[in-house]
């Protein structure tokens, strides 16, 4: 109910009709999204790269992976460079944040979003989405850590559930990809989603 009201408000705020498609939930496709950012603080975080991949039924459409680098307005913090491996020089060829997010919205369309701690990614994205289209991302969100918690809680109601990404990867027996980038993490998230879906928690 609340969600419906929220979506109504979002639709009302939408300034650009081209993005009406975001409100039309796709019947059987989702999009797994992951962003690399300059900081883990939403307030100061700037986008460095965005990866996304569509999930159609049991298939991850890796052949149409969305994978763009973003040129940030400020230099990335040194400590984060070591995490995402994106040096300032790698990013100089990137798109402007507005351009990158615009393309991402076209890619996502009405598909529900899938991600691991998606809330953070969506919050960072919204910093750019709102000025662009007038409202925040209206798409339904599938939070993997929450689904995983439900799955584990069903198995062992009393135990502590470890929600570290590596734990999900190990427990759900998803192969580790050698490359740590936004697109790769989006694919990993998509694989985690399919594994959870198989267990009835999609």
């Amino acid at each position: 109910m609340l969600a419906a009201i929220k979506r109504g408000w979002q639709k009302h705020s939408l300034r650009d009709e081209r993005y009406l498609a975001l409100f039309d939930e796709h019947p059987d496709e989702l999009v797994s999204v992951d962003c690399e950012t300059t900081s883990l603080n939403v307030g100061e975080a700037e986008l460095l790269s965005i990866g996304a991949v569509k999930i159609r039924g049991n298939r991850i459409i890796a052949s149409e992976t969305f994978d763009v680098l973003v040129r940030p307005e400020h230099r990335p913090e040194a400590k984060n460079v070591s995490v995402h491996g994106l040096r300032p020089r790698d990013l100089s060829a990137g798109l402007t944040p507005a351009d990158a997010v615009g393309r991402l919205l076209d890619f996502i369309g009405g598909r529900a979003l899938v991600g691991y701690y998606l809330e953070f990614d969506v919050a960072v994205l919204n910093k750019y989405v709102k000025p662009l289209i007038g409202c925040t991302l209206p798409n339904r969100q599938v939070e993997l850590s929450a689904r995983y918690y439900d799955y584990k809680f069903r198995q062992h109601p009393d135990s502590h559930v470890d929600l570290k990404l590596q734990t999900l990867i190990d427990e759900l027996k998803v192969p580790a990809l050698p490359r740590h980038d936004a697109a790769g993490d989006a694919i990993t998230a998509a694989m985690l989603y399919l594994a959870l879906k198989q267990r009835g928690f999609g």
Partner: protein, 601 residues
């Protein structure tokens, strides 16, 4: 850099850019337990790589293949566009789906990659050996005579005098001359001058009267290995190299030996000169060492086996000469049988020998010689045959007439022991003594079965004795938990090929004992299709190779080489080929079943 690991066959044949192109078109697909990925009637629009999980390939209810991480399926289906098998998820699987169109495009650009998909199985084996060949030293056994730097022959007329000949040799710094005498071609070497001096032959004698015209020759395209065999067999040091019937060079023993760090020839000489069993034991140990070295140099097991067979035959001959009185040697025929007879025993696994004695030859002393022979072989490292198939066992020493009676008895009801004994005897090769004794026994056998069509079916039926080899892969699924799953190469693959071919050879009067030679002969007679012969031959060579590898490893650990291998210890491409080899065995068995109408028993 690609996101996924493409460092396994066939993708390791791709250039980095090609891998990236391919990956960019790949999707990831998730399947739950027991879901069918691909089945009969489905359009094959992709090749699948297992990223995680286990997939089983089913023919009806039978598991005929298991695919794990980095395994690829199904190349054959991709090419033909359809499959008769069902690929079912055994354990929750994540697969990479590579679109057919992209792969076909790559196969056209990258021929080595394309070979994996379009080549028949036998060619696929070739790709693997080529890959290992590029790493490993090329040795002479894979080289041809033409690869050796040949000495250009100095050719002279037979009318040339001895003195002129000596001068020509000195001028040209050669130790041999080719002598042309009309149509004949001969050779005259520096060694021959010894006779000239000893016999006081006048120096103006024409060469033609002294040259040796019984020349052993070898074709320029022939394997160096064959040249070495010829030298070893005939105990000569030089061969004339022919190309298009013309002498183009002389290949000397030294040339070959300089190629050959392992000196098989020296082993042969050591055997020939041995005067005690202890000396022979030393030579026998050298054979095993040679095997190991040549194998590590990438010499193919088929060629290796033939070389070992030649050396072994000399070893046996010499041993027999040392332990048996000359009269006995002349009036009997020592034969090797089974894998030794076929030239397929690379490591010493069995004695498998017998003695045929001329009718009427006195029996005294035979027993003692035979006991000494078997004991000597045991000392050389040949384990006593568990079935007692060796001359020390009275049951394997026959007079001619006793053998004829035995053969009649075996052919009467070819089942169980009689069948196995018969099969072993069919592969008999004479080692020393009167080979005619064996030849007439074999002729007797052919007479016995000539008009007995049912015999062949009963004989061939033994191929059904062991489980169909592909089924053994099912064990990999279940036996993993309680330790390492093992596969019996002999029961699973080698025996059906060898015995099936043996049955066909017997039926079609093929005299050769070696399985590869039998197959070629059967192809020539039109009994088997060329393609089948090639595939079966390659599959056998591959299985023997795997067996040799594991046998050498066992010897290194101080264990007895056997037929069991742990597929898990094989490399991924080897496992892949093992599956292919077993698939060939299965097809071969089906054809044999049909040929001998085995279903009707």
């Amino acid at each position: 850099m690609t996101r996924f690991d493409f460092n396994h066959p066939p993708f390791d044949q791709l250039e980095p850019a090609e891998r990236q192109t391919l990956e960019a078109q790949a999707d990831i697909v998730f399947f739950g337990d027991d879901e069918t990925i691909l089945g009969p009637g489905d359009t094959v629009d992709a090749l699948w790589i297992v990223l995680k999980g286990i997939v089983r390939e089913m023919a009806g209810d039978e598991v005929i293949g298991v695919y794990r991480k980095d395994d690829v399926f199904d190349a054959r289906a991709l090419v033909t566009g359809a499959t008769a098998h069902r690929f079912v998820v055994h354990e929750e699987a994540l697969l990479l789906s590579l679109p057919r169109a992209a792969l076909i495009a790559l196969t056209e650009r990258n021929l080595r990659f394309g070979a994996y998909f379009f080549a028949s199985v036998s060619e696929k084996f070739g790709v693997l050996s080529e890959r290992s060949g590029s790493r490993e030293l090329q040795t002479l056994l894979t080289a041809t005579v033409g690869d050796v730097e040949l000495r250009t022959p100095v050719c002279v007329e037979g009318s040339l005098s001895l003195r002129e000949a000596a001068r020509t040799m000195k001028e040209n710094k050669v130790k041999s001359l080719l002598v042309r005498d009309g149509e004949r071609l001969g050779i005259y070497t520096t060694t021959d001058f010894r006779e000239v001096i000893i016999e006081g032959i006048p120096y103006d004698t024409p060469l033609a009267s002294l040259a040796n015209f019984r020349l052993a020759s070898v074709s320029r395209d022939d394997f160096l290995f064959n040249a070495l065999l010829t030298m070893t067999r005939s105990n000569i040091r030089r061969l004339v190299v022919l190309e298009g019937g013309e002498a183009v060079g002389i290949l000397s023993q030294v040339d070959v030996l300089s190629y050959f760090s392992n000196h098989s020839h020296l082993i042969a000489q050591r055997i020939a000169r041995a005067t005690t069993l202890a000396e022979l034991a030393g030579a026998a140990r050298q054979i095993t060492r040679l095997t190991s070295i040549l194998n590590s140099h990438g010499v193919k097991p088929v060629q290796l086996a033939r070389l070992v067979q030649t050396l072994n035959a000399q070893l046996f001959e010499r041993t027999w000469a040392l332990v048996a009185p000359g009269e006995l040697v002349a009036n009997s025929c020592l034969v090797v049988m089974g894998s030794e007879g076929r030239g397929e025993q690379i490591l010493k696994t069995d004695q498998d020998n017998a003695l045929i004695i001329r009718d009427g030859f006195p029996a005294d002393g035979v027993e003692a010689a035979c006991q000494a022979f078997s004991a000597a072989l045991e000392q050389f490292g040949y384990p006593p045959c568990p079935g007692g198939i060796m001359v020390s066992n009275a049951a394997w020493r026959f007079t001619e007439s006793a053998l004829a009676g035995q053969l009649r008895q075996w052919t009467w009801q070819p089942a169980g022991d009689a069948l196995m004994n018969l099969a072993i005897f069919v592969d008999a090769e004479a080692v020393t003594g009167d080979a005619g004794l064996l030849a007439s026994a074999k002729a007797r056998l052919r007479e016995l079965i000539a008009d007995d069509a049912a015999f062949y079916a009963r004989f061939a039926a033994a191929i059904e004795q062991f489980d169909t080899p592909l089924g053994m892969f099912a064990q990999l699924l279940t036996r993993e938990a309680d330790g390492e799953a093992v596969l019996d190469l002999k029961k699973g693959g080698i025996f059906p090929i060898v015995h099936g071919t043996r049955a066909l050879a017997l039926e079609n009067g093929v005299h050769a004992c070696n399985t590869h030679e039998r197959l070629l002969e059967l192809a020539r007679l039109g009994v088997l299709a060329d393609e089948m012969v090639e595939e079966v031959g390659e599959a056998l060579a591959f299985l023997l190779g795997i067996k040799l590898e594991s046998g050498l490893a066992a010897l290194e650990d101080g264990q007895v080489p056997g037929n069991l291998i742990a597929p898990e210890r094989l490399s991924a491409p080897e496992r892949d080929l093992l599956k292919d080899a077993f698939a060939v065995v299965k097809r071969y068995k089906q054809q044999l079943r049909h040929h001998f109408k085995l279903g009707s028993f």
